[in-house]
Symmetry: C2
Subunit: 419 residues, 2 copies
């Protein structure tokens, strides 16, 4: 993509009212645009990042046999009245449909998926079932000022699993936990498994928390054994695993996994016939992962005073090709050739092809946007028409200070290997 065509360009200043770092940087760098508090447009580069996170999540869900579906945002309120959550969930958006029917915008989908599964599952042969979606959720947050960390409309992955027994559910729960650890590692987030309050199954309820001063959650990390606890489940401030002392941290919850209460299955009559012909209740688990929140969390933990530093797996492009001295027709034509060489090699590249912009402004934009590799072509580093000419390009990693001068072939090897 040529920067001259990219929509939109970077902004010199963060908009007024942007309090959080992720909002400031993502808005300035042209990844998101705020439509109202907690509601954003994902601009082309922002959507690319979300799409890459989603694809990684999808791959890991498919590995544990999850089947992807998509449930609607509009829910009949009757289902929420049945579970009592029409009144107990205070952030529910409520509206009226044609004919005056009460509707709800889904902040989660138990009220939809239980009746759905109950309609198709009747025998032990129909179980287990693992269903997930990557879909837009709605929460009428009174306060939504933390950029992508607390939205009124946000992208989430929610997986639901249904089983013939708690044992089977618990063993699947462990697979999901492993999948989550793989996902967070792949997208570049150091997420800590944190014991959380899970109602009746407190040994199987975990949050995935990313430590950062901007986090809204408080967690405690044991300095001795490394166990991590959400403050809700600590009665005194000692590690309940080893008795060690705890360090308090602020953190962002990017995922949570927990068994679902039996009351959902009871309410929606989700029973199955076991091998002996008897009716039993279905066990279930719920596994959430905030896709857009994870994007915000990455920016919170991975930036410097110049801008964002994307991890390679989720960066919108792999190479930010900066063309300097493009007023010189020779340099311009060589830069154009280099851009096409990257494309031929299937390297995702953003080419800053602007002519009347200073080197300083171009470097500042590259640092702000945060693409992993910056490659500079200029009079000084200009290739002479052949990829094997021996001329050197300037390459720098966004996360490092060092600049190297290397041939195109070596540059290519570096940017490709790192994937």
């Amino acid at each position: 993509m040529k920067y001259s065509k990219l929509f939109p360009k970077t902004l010199k200043q963060a908009p007024s009212g942007a309090e959080s770092i992720n909002q400031q940087l993502l808005v300035r760098a042209g990844f998101i645009h705020q439509e109202m508090a907690g509601v954003y447009t994902y601009l082309p580069m922002g959507w690319k990042v979300l799409d890459k996170i989603s694809d990684i999540v999808r791959e890991e869900m498919d590995k544990i046999e999850g089947q992807e579906l998509v449930m609607p945002a509009l829910h009949p309120a009757d289902l929420w009245k049945k579970t009592g959550r029409f009144t107990s969930v205070d952030v529910l958006f409520k509206l009226k449909g044609a004919g005056g029917a009460d509707l709800v915008l889904g902040p989660t989908h138990e009220e939809i998926i239980y009746p759905l599964v109950a309609e198709y599952v009747s025998s032990y042969r129909d179980l287990p079932v693992y269903l997930y979606q990557i879909q837009v959720k709605f929460r009428n947050e009174p306060r939504a000022k933390a950029g992508l960390l607390r939205g009124r409309e946000f992208l989430m992955k929610d997986l639901y699993s249904f089983h013939t027994s708690d044992d089977d559910r618990n063993s699947y729960y462990k697979k999901v936990r492993e999948a989550y650890l793989r996902i967070f590692k792949r997208i570049g987030l150091k997420a800590l498994e944190t014991k959380a309050s899970g109602g009746t199954f407190s040994d199987l309820s975990e949050e995935f928390q990313v430590i950062t001063p901007s986090g809204e959650d408080t967690i405690f990390v044991c300095l001795k054994c490394g166990s991590v606890f959400n403050k809700e489940i600590l009665s005194d401030k000692k590690c309940s695993d080893c008795g060690g002392s705890l360090k308090q941290e602020k953190a962002i919850e990017v995922g949570n996994i927990f068994p679902l209460k039996r009351s959902f299955a009871e309410t929606f009559k989700l029973y199955f016939t076991n091998q002996s012909g008897q009716q039993e209740i279905v066990s279930a688990g719920c596994y959430g992962l905030g896709i857009s929140r994870a994007m915000g969390a990455i920016v919170e933990v991975s930036h410097d005073n110049k801008g964002i530093i994307w991890s390679e797996a989720v960066a919108p492009y792999r190479v930010h090709l900066v063309g300097l001295d493009l007023g010189d027709p020779h340099v311009e034509s060589e830069a154009e050739k280099l851009y096409k060489l990257f494309l031929v090699e299937n390297v995702e590249v953003l080419f800053d092809d602007r002519v009347n912009v200073s080197a300083g402004a171009k470097f500042a934009d590259a640092d702000l946007i945060g693409i992993p590799y910056r490659v500079v072509i200029s009079k000084k580093t200009c290739l002479t028409s052949s990829r094997n000419s021996g001329n050197k390009l300037e390459i720098k990693k966004r996360s490092e200070k060092e600049t190297k001068f290397l041939s195109f072939e070596k540059v290519l090897k570096i940017v490709k290997d790192s994937g």
Copy 2:
């Protein structure tokens, strides 16, 4: 995917109240589940179809330099009040946000994209811009009984283009029209370019209509020159291109493209500075394509009394592998091997691995689901452990009657070539 694991299984009967063919077949075959009138869950196979349609649309939008973004469903009502559409659009879902603010669920996105583009575009150098999204839309339809043809919540692609002049917009409009023709051809829909009322630019406003008795639109096709007209723009019932006589047809509108009125740019102050330093108004076009409606339309025009007949590009799987006599351990092991051979060859395959189900029931399910190629392995057609054994498999195209007996290599060639 093994059918024994697929969620959900087919249903013997269409649910009561399903009036349209697409709803009856898609629900019975396990592609969609109705949550309320006009609101559906896309079940795993249904989501695969939508995803394939979306990917084709995306490819064609990218070819004409469209940049993908995603705008939110929640809109501040103020923007809709500015254009007057808060009261003039009768199918608008309205709701209250935190603090009592009026909100709207977007049925289209002019009210969001104009202010967005106005914020970033100020010079002729910033134009043209082509932005599209594949995103969920909401319409509070009083009547929503036609399955995926008229939904309250539905998936749509909307592209918006912004230009320095009407001429530039008109030439892009023609590129979009070509892209639409490619899309409909690729997904297997015979969509007719239909002249429609487009306000001030009636020569540049077209709908893409698929003729079928279940269509809600009425169009007229000229028997002499082939021109197609929406009934709205015909004063008498003669072809306005050649004077020929017209045939009336029912049709489904799967896309529409039209220039946008200047009043949007005026309302949202979308001006640019031209090369002479003067302010001019931005020209724009809007190009819609109903993704979920296209899925419904495909079923309406491509089915028989046994079930759906998917076009190859959008089918959830390419091969429906039916295993018969699976109680026989030899056949079972050969069927399992064959399934894996298809997977190794990257052929998307649904394997009916059920043991205690009759051949008749399996064939009926295959016909209902509508995957392009049915391959049968049974005692009679069983491979003997090698892919080159010379034994023959039974293969049949869903759209044809003829059954052939061919080696695995020949079967593979057929199902791969067809892509």
